[in-house]
Amino acid sequence: MSELRRWDYYTWGFIIIVTYIIIDIIGGGQTIGSSWTPYPIDNIGMQIQRLYSIVWLAGEIVSALFIGSLFWLSIKYWDREQKSEME
């Protein structure tokens, strides 16, 4: 296992950011769709939705961290010398 270089951290961060953008697009771009959470019709509902949006955003960030790191680890430590067992 080789030491991490500056370039590795950059690619790691870049992959996490790209993963976050993809998750954000799939998740509706931080605007919770009216198909499953409609616009609240009272003040308390509004506050609940605000909190829910924060949880949503936090979930996106955490997911991007985990999934992005997984992608990066797969690419970084992929053993390219290993021959396919299918042959």
Binding site: L4, Y39, P40, D42, I48, L51
Partner: protein
Amino acid sequence: MAEESKTIKQIEYLTIFGATILLFALGFMAIPLMYEIEDPREEDYIVKVTAEQWAWKFEYPNGEIISELNIKSGETVKLEMESTDVIHAFYVRDLHIKFDIIPGRVKEIWITPETPGEYWIQCAEFCGAFHGAMRTKMIVVE
């Protein structure tokens, strides 16, 4: 190698403290709201809600019992909810609220819908064969 292990440690601390701060911040924001939802407010009138397999009944102060909840926008209504058989849940998507109704207990909530329209009230606790059909409308008029 020492430099790398230091960086990894820093990332670990950042993750642990970051997640802790995030969770506490969410808790601090959510807890007052949880109390506010159930906090008694001065109501304009009381509606008694009876949940039973598989229907909703709403009893108004004048003694009228109907199967829909009619409210004027901006009015604060206290709902006294009871179940006659099994556990049901009063769920209004547009109000972003969901409360269990447990047999033998009266659940009190206060709602102040402001936007006129028709909204679904759905039982959100599995209550038997026709649970999915146990829904009615909350009509908010101007």
